[in-house]
Homo-oligomer: 343 residues x 2
Amino acid sequence: MNVNLKQLAEMLGLSQTTVSRALNGYPEVNAETRQRVLSAVRETGYRPNRAAQRLATGRAGSIGLVMPIAQGIDSDVHFGEFLAGLGEESVRHDFHFVINPSAPDDEEATFKRLAASGNVDALFLAYVRANDPRIAMLKSLSIPFVVHGRAVGQPADYPFLDIDNTGAFYDATRLLIQLGHRRIALINGPGNLTFSIRRLKGMRRALEENGLQFDERLVQNSLMTDEYGHRAMQQFLEQGEPPTAVLCSSTVIALGAVRAIHRAGLQMGEDISLIAHDDVLPMLKPENFSVPLTTTRSSLRAAGSRIATRLISRILKTGDYPEQELWRTELIVRASTGPAPKS
Amino acid sequence: MNVNLKQLAEMLGLSQTTVSRALNGYPEVNAETRQRVLSAVRETGYRPNRAAQRLATGRAGSIGLVMPIAQGIDSDVHFGEFLAGLGEESVRHDFHFVINPSAPDDEEATFKRLAASGNVDALFLAYVRANDPRIAMLKSLSIPFVVHGRAVGQPADYPFLDIDNTGAFYDATRLLIQLGHRRIALINGPGNLTFSIRRLKGMRRALEENGLQFDERLVQNSLMTDEYGHRAMQQFLEQGEPPTAVLCSSTVIALGAVRAIHRAGLQMGEDISLIAHDDVLPMLKPENFSVPLTTTRSSLRAAGSRIATRLISRILKTGDYPEQELWRTELIVRASTGPAPKS
DNA sequence: GCCAAAATTCAAAGCGCTTTGAGTTTGCTA
DNA sequence: TAGCAAACTCAAAGCGCTTTGAATTTTGGC
């Protein structure tokens, strides 16, 4: 049914070499010949056999993902959304995935095995931790990779795509301060992940620049779930002097926080202000909250798609993308923020 | 660095044929020879080149997934969790994924393209709709597949893995009736998906068997998100004669429903009872709710893993699994259910 | 018109594995 | 001890593509 190169070449009265070159964009092919080849491809529906291509080129045509199965991370909404972006772009280039679920303490070995197996020609790392040893390991592996996020405490001398977490939370905090808030809380992600570290840093910087004291009791680290968000907010509200504003590291966390706020009989944007980081999860839109959420926004799906693009271009040696990208976030003001209540 | 078959055979003083057979478990190899081969593999760390294997066997070694990007389904927590199970099992057999994000109206074409490409040797279908045309298409495709779920309104003459949705919601409803509830509501998933249809059917059957009237105003179809769950519950509570019990098609929906219930000042398990279907999402455990949830339980991850097992065994023609499986769910009673309030 | 250089095209050699069909041993039976 | 099946092992032919190195055809300058 499906034609192969040989048959196609025969039909055209050409050699396999020429047809192959015509298809792969090599310059030494007559323009007219190339046209003939292309239209024959269209007629026959010829699709090169990927396995043969892989064997011949030595390229695996796939990207290795290590899917973390640590508690609270696995099957994370955020991971799913990111994956959608990655998939969208990869499928366009006929790339596969090798998804390796792996426990955190086994990840290094998993990466090594993946790289050595020859089954993937690029790796992808996410959920970076402070001083993450996995990055040094990736660098030693002689296989392209892109890190989603960045380590802290070590030079950023590797390919990454990160958002400006420090800047995002700096901006958000500054806005709250401008609105008159003095006691600002943070419900952050897990404390060992670098995005959490940077968000905290951004918040502290804004506080310090405005001569405000940083209060440790106003920071909680939490899994990125509704449940933990709720719990954290509740603890804040039970404190002697509760915060008048709160930053949430995810709209999922905000979901729980908002619940706790309502439960306490407080009015969002009046009694208490809230800013969440919005990964643009289609199932959880900040504008659909009962009180629409002010957010710092950056699309996770877009990040996934971009990383796929960069990885594939590296593998195929086409195009030329920057090795390091830091995306700015947008601060979008909605109804959940307002002036600090007069106490 | 990496040895290949040829080198391995040379080292052992054997032919490639024999080594290959020893590795692939063919019977015509001397037991002692096989042991020598296996220990040599261990020493050298030999790993067969998958591309070559694929080319030689004609098997692609990968499973095609069509990741729905319909609103409210894409990057669904439930999909992520399922994927984790699928990945866990596949990685064990060195299988890849081809993840095709695809809009619903393009899914048929996507499947066809995938099957024809030769890049996958099995397909997987989920989010089955009533009278789903995609199933007939899969059957015509001469490539193994497993459906997660079942169609309604057509014979189930294809491989599937489904849970007994009808039974689950029948049991749950019956329990509520036994507790004295007469007005029972349902916050279901999207109305066009077959699991929703069956859950409704289970509920209706239990009502009818107990001589209770089914009330259309007590059923809502909703995306499987917190937000929609909340909205649906709110509408129920605003009705003239609100329900005393409610069934939720997912713990994610329950999250929102519980919020609405608390907001209305009602006490779970006393003023109103709630039973949710629990897919065993690690990020959302029914026992961690402020009032632990009574649930019908069936692990999505286990389903993913099982489907991978079946698909791979079909491809490799090893083992022998049933073509059709219907998993019963467990009804686990916790604090969110109680006797109907005396009105 | 002739010839070197440029433009095309080609035959054939892999890539690393599986599998066919045939050869070589070995173990028994008669 | 011959003879034959059973048990092993092997050489070689693909799988369908890319790529090298060489062959052929065109082109353009003189």
